[in-house]
């Protein structure tokens, strides 16, 4: 718990009553939560180790109300932290003690479904899965499917550029949205894009996506709808080792096959899953690879045969091909249970999210193993194998003295290792507060200063979700003049979190 956040501003804390009163002039009284017990519900997101009690919670219902709250915040110089369903694994929605927590849960309507243009306009508080549910009767769906999809909302998906198990073939959030409505600090409402493809001038939709709530508040999203594939079949492949599984994954892609889903888990995870809720995974396997192939039935049958042949050639000890939809879902059941299953053996775990070039997987695993031993902890591994996105689950016991700190240190070492081999700190969970202080492992001061200048173009006073993503807060005026030489700041003694 060594996280440093911006110090609460006493001048803001002193004006709390005035702020609450003015918010109540904008919003219905019930939508301004000032009571401490009720505010507690918002003190953390899914990164539960970090908590803070927000100054006040505001729940707007209309775009005009969002705009008025943002104008008020600017006028009173109060910070704002936007929040969807609070499922962020990186602390993106961690409140500030001197900030308004802006909950978007009342924006829960699907505004329009337009099958002919294959898109839907939805409010940001609509759950990810609810979009697919609303259009499935006509054979359509919304492609990105983060594992929190029954709870997470599309506004948060835009904020984090959420992925899922199908993104190698179907892309992340950024590849699946056409339009946004956003409210800037100060209250300006902007509409970006629409039902057409490609932005005019700068691609601000692309910039907003994955900006972790630091640039603007999303009040409407136009998502692309895809037609569901005619059929899908799964392969469950067992290998003696993760290395062999990784070679098979590489060989499938090298053959020109891009599966709809391509997942792998290691022996520790397989055992945890089978303990939690048996689904027939081979307990003696060193790794399991799940391949999902979708498309027309003829194509799927053809690709299943290709993949099965590759798996055998790569030394699979067992290959199962789903013969029914029920069997395909059974293959996935264990993968979908992996996180809760691992938490049963933990008892606690920290989920990492680095991405690496796939070919470096064997090396990374060996070195990760060494790091885990060094810190005296165990790691279970779940991979989005197709795109090299790793989810090492670091097992620890929060009731044991020093275990959290050890887990955090191991996590940081693993992420540095990912960067060292050509990968990145986070593939889909976001930087938030969790990986904020590791940003220097990937970027030098010049890179980070340029990103912060983009922030300044949207929010020059750093009022929107400050303390996230960037390890050092610079005043925008100072960034304007600062010339970074050779990646070194002229003032290395500036305060850092």
């Amino acid at each position: 718990m060594s996280l440093l956040m911006p110090l609460p501003e006493q001048a803001i804390l002193a004006r709390r009553e005035e702020l609450v009163a003015r918010l109540r002039a904008i919003l219905p009284a019930a939508n301004v939560i000032a009571d401490e017990t009720a505010r507690r519900a918002y003190e953390c997101d899914a990164l539960v180790m970090y908590r803070a009690l927000p100054l006040v919670v505001a729940l707007p219902e209309t775009v005009a109300q969002v705009s008025a709250v943002m104008a008020l915040a600017q006028e009173m110089n109060v910070k704002v932290v936007p929040r969807g369903a609070g499922t962020s694994l990186s602390g993106g929605a961690l409140p500030l003690e001197d900030g308004i927590l802006l909950g978007m849960s009342k924006f829960n309507r699907i505004l329009e479904v337009d099958f002919e243009n294959r898109c839907a306009r939805v409010q940001p508080g609509v759950q990810n899965l609810a979009i697919s549910k609303a259009v499935e009767y006509a054979g359509f769906y919304y492609a990105p499917d983060p594992s929190s999809q029954i709870a997470c909302t599309i506004g948060g998906n835009v904020g984090e550029n959420a992925g899922g198990v199908h993104c190698l073939k179907y892309g992340l959030t950024t590849n699946n949205i056409l339009g946004l409505e956003i409210v800037l600090m100060g209250g300006d409402v902007l509409r970006l894009g629409g039902k057409h493809l490609d932005s005019e001038l700068y691609d601000l939709i692309g910039l907003m996506t994955g900006s972790e709530g630091l640039l603007g508040v999303v009040t409407e999203v136009t998502v692309r709808l895809l037609r569901k594939p005619m059929s899908a079949r799964g392969l469950l492949l067992a290998f003696p080792s993760v290395e062999a599984g990784a070679r098979c994954v590489g060989a499938i892609i090298a053959r020109g096959v891009i599966p709809g889903g391509l997942e792998m888990m290691d022996a520790a995870t397989i055992r945890a899953v089978e303990n939690f809720q048996p689904c027939g995974y081979p307990l003696d396997a060193g790794a399991i690879v799940i391949v999902e192939l979708d498309g027309t039935p003829a194509e799927v049958d053809h690709l299943v045969a290709v993949a099965e042949q590759i798996a055998r050639a790569e030394g699979a000890t067992e290959t199962r091909v789903s013969q029914s939809e029920a069997e395909r879902l059974r293959f996935w059941a264990g993968r979908k249970n992996a996180f809760p299953a691992v938490s049963c053996i933990g008892p606690d775990y920290l989920c990492m999210d680095g991405t690496i070039p796939r070919g470096r997987l064997p090396e990374v695993l060996t070195r990760m193993d060494g790091l885990a031993k060094l810190h005296g902890l165990r790691v279970a591994n779940v991979f989005h194998a197709g795109d090299g996105n790793l989810h090492p689950l670091i097992l620890y016991d929060a009731s044991k003295e020093g275990d959290i700190e050890r887990a955090e240190k191991l996590g940081a070492d693993i992420l540095r290792l990912c960067v060292e081999v050509g990968g990145v700190l986070t593939g889909e969970h976001g930087v938030g507060v969790e990986k904020r202080d590791l940003m220097h492992a990937m970027f030098d001061e010049t890179d980070l200063a340029q990103q912060q200048r983009v922030k300044c173009a949207f929010d020059p006073q750093h009022r929107l979700n400050p303390g996230k993503v960037f390890p050092t807060l610079h005043r925008c005026a100072e960034l304007g003049m600062m010339h970074v030489q050779g990646g070194k700041l002229p003032f290395p003694d500036l305060p850092r979190f």
Binding site: T174, L197, L201, L204, V484
Partner: protein, 391 residues
């Protein structure tokens, strides 16, 4: 004056020198797109042609890194050798703008977000840029993104530089997603439907499960074209299923196979069906609005010479007789009422200096756009005036 830096450090030196003298720079590769955008004084040109060469290509990882001045044709040939491709099908501007064919560099492709017919299914250039290195208008070397498929570390500046026409930074190196080439392709041509019904057939097909990758309608020969690509066994069954799915339109159906199909789509990609004398526009709309737009433009009396629809009606290429404002007012009034944007692709330099080449924005959005420009290039040293008269 032509500046020819040999490496990234030279690029940074050139931009710093330009800043010191307040002497704006145009950024180019081989100059195949120099007639795109607002016409500006191109007194000092920063040529990235010498920054050439693929620095990393790992087919199994689906990733390629190249210096910005690398010829696109070299990259295409290299990928082709491994059965891979740039799935967004960058268009060749030569048929519209003149100049030699096949003369683009990869930096230019990214700078204008050049994407072709498969964009509707496979995404645009912006969806395939994984990371980049550049020198900003502040003269600083900056990197962003990475070489892996999934990455949310920091702002996605790849999206911002793609389509920015060199106004934010001079790209020095780009990392792209490479995808498998389809084993084969076929195109269904539906004729005799007329414009409105032909477009309706495209939209119906776009909601089908047959994985059509491109959808175009050419009024000259009244042909609605649908491309299917993939493994041969899949293409053959989908072709028959798709033809049956569209049977209610009672169209005459032809099939273009393999090489014929590829030739058809490369002509369409480069907007060859509308090439010729006059002014040329590219209009992006909701697919259902494509036909309505053209109808209203005709009724408004605009001297339309040729047009063709791509992206199931969501992209309209237009050629009109030349005029003082290139018909900007008439075209944009209709686009504004429907939603979308219109870009003037070709007109005399004198017209492109006066008329907004890129679609005007509401004031709050225009102000934000300018602040984003200033975040990278506060002195407007790169491509001054290329996007907007004011920066």
């Amino acid at each position: 004056m032509l500046l020819t830096p040999r490496d990234e450090k030279d690029v940074a030196d050139a931009i710093r020198a330009a800043l010191a003298q307040d002497a704006p720079l145009s950024v180019e590769g081989h100059g195949s797109k120099s007639a795109l955008g607002r016409a500006t004084q191109r007194e000092r040109i920063l040529s990235l042609a010498a920054l050439s060469g693929v620095t990393l290509y790992e087919p199994q990882e689906l990733v390629l890194t190249a210096r910005a001045g690398t010829p696109l044709r070299d990259i295409v040939a290299l990928l082709d050798g491994e059965g891979q491709q740039l799935a967004f099908e960058p268009l060749d501007h030569a048929p519209l703008l003149g100049g030699a064919r096949d003369n683009a560099t990869i930096g230019g492709v990214i700078a204008v977000n050049a994407s072709g017919p498969r964009r509707i299914r496979a995404g645009a250039a912006r969806d395939h840029l994984l990371g980049f290195r550049c020198v900003t208008g502040r003269g600083e070397i900056v990197k962003s993104g990475g070489r892996v498929m999934k990455n949310v570390t920091g702002y996605d500046l790849s999206k911002l530089v793609t389509g920015s026409y060199g106004t934010l930074a001079a790209l020095t190196e780009v990392t792209l997603k490479a995808l498998p080439k389809a084993e084969t392709e076929e195109t269904l041509l539906l004729s005799g439907l007329g414009e409105e019904k032909g477009l309706a057939a495209l939209r119906k097909a776009s909601g089908s499960p047959y994985e059509v990758s491109s959808f175009a309608y050419d009024p000259r020969n009244d042909a609605a074209a649908l491309r299917l690509d993939g493994p041969e066994i899949s293409v053959l069954t989908r072709r028959d299923d798709l033809a049956a799915f569209l049977a209610s339109f009672c169209a005459a159906i032809d099939v273009l196979r393999d090489a014929e199909s590829r030739a058809f789509w490369s002509r369409l990609r480069d907007a060859e069906p509308i090439a010729g004398e006059g002014v040329i526009w590219r209009v992006s709309l909701a697919p259902t609005d494509g036909f309505a737009f053209v109808e209203r433009l005709r009724r408004a009396g605009a001297p339309l010479i040729a047009h063709v629809y791509d992206w199931a009606g969501g992209l309209v290429w237009l050629r009109l007789e030349t005029a003082a404002d290139a018909h900007a007012q008439a075209i944009r009034a209709i686009v504004d009422s429907l939603g979308g944007h219109a870009t003037l692709i070709r007109a005399d330099a004198e017209i492109r200096a006066r008329v907004d080449v890129f679609h005007p924005q509401p004031s709050a959005l225009a102000a934000l756009t300018r602040r984003v420009k200033e975040a990278f290039d506060p002195r407007f040293i790169l491509e001054r005036g290329r996007l907007r008269a004011e920066f």
